[in-house]
């Protein structure tokens, strides 16, 4: 059996046994949902329906209903896309990268973080889809023979790389998540008394029995999937950044983009994980599993990635001046002093200054402040993408075509709608799925559980 240093804080608090872990996770599924859950899902469901309405209106009318114009041909659509993909990255980072580094605190948060990843990537995929205008021709992104009326798709284009990156990322995350869920569904199946839920969870568990050989394979699959999901997660946001970096627009074509986008993605993703988990642990009474130490670890990741993002902002600024290219430097001068300077300074204060507060132990172990800052970070990261995209476009090479971008109610409606759909999916997950990785938590109970640790020393 593995032992852990006594000075390490236990990851599972309280006097827990294997059975208690099962009970604590299965209880919210077997019990009746509290009233707040119904209220929350009604609100988010209504917002989701409004968003779906806006999307249908957009598809029926055309993307002219967005505030795009000839100069600013990309705005909220791609901003929201990059924002959602970025949020998704935390889930894979937690479940894959932290697995490779044997960070055991991941086990309390990986299941819900991966669920968040999947829902966020679905939301991201909405935007390129509806941005096509004629969504019924979406299959043209696949390499189909030119009898379909088009030539082969262009494999030199980062937009096509994105198609492959996002679809691979989504499906691989889904498989990774589901393979971890199978044994936990089996636990719920064997717990359920009512025939219908028993049948449903029985179906979802694929007849899992927990044989020794199956567990050996399970661990191998988890390890290999983590190994290939790690470069995958880095490649996905690198490719997203290449949508901009391989273009010729000043402010976009910078080689710093891939690492800068990836750390920004992890940064915003961890913020979203914190926002969701701080509520979920209270609502589902999981304080013994997701406690202050977990939050502190996540806040440390936020300081690191937030600082990388900060350095990237300053590097970008410096290089634009140092390059001596007047178009390039103007793009950046315009960012911080032009008509959209407000967005730039919101981005700077939310992403660079606010996470530095976590250097203070008092702040990074305070759950209320963490919750507030996690929302601030997500706002900041949305503005980061908005700043990169809109301020680089709105003043192009010909001053006569300089213009503003004004978001329309449909822009806002679709963005809010995706948040509504996302929250609805997450609420359904929290109600019907095992929100903690039961089988993984049980493996660390003896090495990192409070009662076991105290007994030894």
């Amino acid at each position: 059996m593995q032992r852990e240093a006594a000075i390490r804080e236990p990851l599972i608090l309280g006097d827990k046994s294997y059975k208690d872990i099962t009970d604590d996770v299965v209880r919210p599924i077997t019990n009746k949902a509290p009233k707040t859950w119904y209220i929350l899902i009604t609100i988010s469901g209504l917002i989701a329906l409004y968003g779906v309405g806006c999307i249908l209106y957009l598809i029926g009318t055309g993307i002219g209903v967005w505030g795009l114009n000839k100069t600013v041909g990309w705005a909220w659509d791609i901003t929201n896309f990059v924002w959602w993909v970025g949020i998704g990255h935390a889930g894979t980072l937690i479940s894959a990268v932290l697995l490779l580094f044997r960070q055991k605190w991941r086990m309390a948060i990986n299941r819900s973080a991966e669920a968040m990843t999947i829902f966020a990537v679905i939301m991201a995929a909405v935007f390129p889809g509806i941005h096509m205008g004629r969504i019924w021709l979406a299959y043209w992104v696949f390499p189909l023979p030119n009898q379909f009326g088009s030539l082969w798709v262009n494999f030199n284009s980062p937009l096509l790389w994105d198609v492959f990156a996002i679809s691979t990322y989504f499906s691989v995350s889904l498989v990774f998540w589901y393979i971890g869920l199978i044994p936990d569904f089996a636990t719920i199946r064997d717990r359920m008394v009512k025939p219908l839920p028993k049948k449903i969870y029985g179906f979802l568990s694929f007849g899992w029995t927990g044989r020794a050989k199956h567990w050996t394979r399970f661990e191998e699959v988890s390890l290999v999937l983590a190994g290939i999901a790690t470069p995958l997660v880095f490649s996905v946001h690198s490719i997203v950044s290449m949508d901009f970096a391989t273009s010729v627009i000043p402010g976009w074509h910078t080689t710093i983009f891939p690492p800068y986008f990836v750390s920004g993605a992890v940064f915003s993703g961890f913020a979203m994980v914190l926002t969701l988990l701080l509520i979920m642990r209270k609502a589902l009474h999981l304080e013994n599993y997701i406690h202050v130490k977990h939050v502190e670890y996540m806040n440390i990741v936020i300081i690191v990635t937030g600082s990388i993002v900060g350095v990237a902002y300053l590097t970008e600024l410096f290089i634009s001046w140092y390059s001596g290219v007047e178009y390039e430097s103007y793009a950046f001068i315009n960012r911080f002093s032009g008509p959209y300077s407000m967005a730039y300074w919101i981005m700077m204060s939310c992403n660079v200054i606010s996470p530095q507060l976590f250097w203070f132990k008092k702040i990074r172990t305070n759950l209320t402040i963490t919750f507030a800052l996690s929302i601030v970070v997500n706002i900041g990261m949305w503005f980061e993408r908005y700043v990169i995209i809109v301020t680089s476009l709105h003043r192009d090479y010909v001053p006569s075509s300089w213009t503003w971008f004004h978001a329309t109610s449909i822009d806002v409606g679709i963005f809010l709608g995706t948040i509504g759909i996302f929250l609805t999916l997450f609420l359904l997950f929290a109600r019907f799925f095992p929100v903690l990785a039961l089988n993984e938590l049980k493996t660390i109970l003896k090495s990192s559980g409070e009662n076991f640790k105290n007994k030894e020393h």
């Binding site: 059975k19 096509l160 636990t187 007849g207 044989r211 020794a212 199956h214 995958l232 490649s235």
Partner: protein, 178 residues
Amino acid sequence: MANKVLHAMYNDEEKLMKAAQRVVDAGVRVKDVYSPFPIHGLDPIIGVKRTRLGIASFMYGMTGTSLALLGMWYFMIYDWPMNIGGKPSFSLIQNLPAFVPVTFEFSVLCAAHGMAITYLLRNGTLPGMKAQNPDPRTTDDMFVMEITTDQNHGKSTEEIEAMLKDDDLIELSVKDYE
């Protein structure tokens, strides 16, 4: 004589491992162990071999790499070369940098899905399958060791039973099976 299957239940993985080591040392073959989570160190005791899924995954990945490169060579170089921003459209090698992202993504796609499908097939865990764990508690907090008499011809059921009985044992069930 009908074959018997013995299920010895423990409430702790270390107790089960101790018992398994004891019976294996006495020459009994343990058919299987059902547990709510992976027990590290158990596989060598009961003779579970290392899985080859990792190798399978590598081969799926290589298949993906080859298919992606072959596809892009066919689409972009052979079938319909296009001059896009002056990028070389006449040679796979010279155009390769632009093909790296898709090659990588497609390799990962094939490796991950190929491995996941193989895993589910080899386990026999597929949608609609019926669970066969001997006791519903094995997915919660109990650990069951399964021993069958047809794998242990030299020993009688009673002998094995006697060997299993100790303080750690929670429950022992003996059933006929075909």
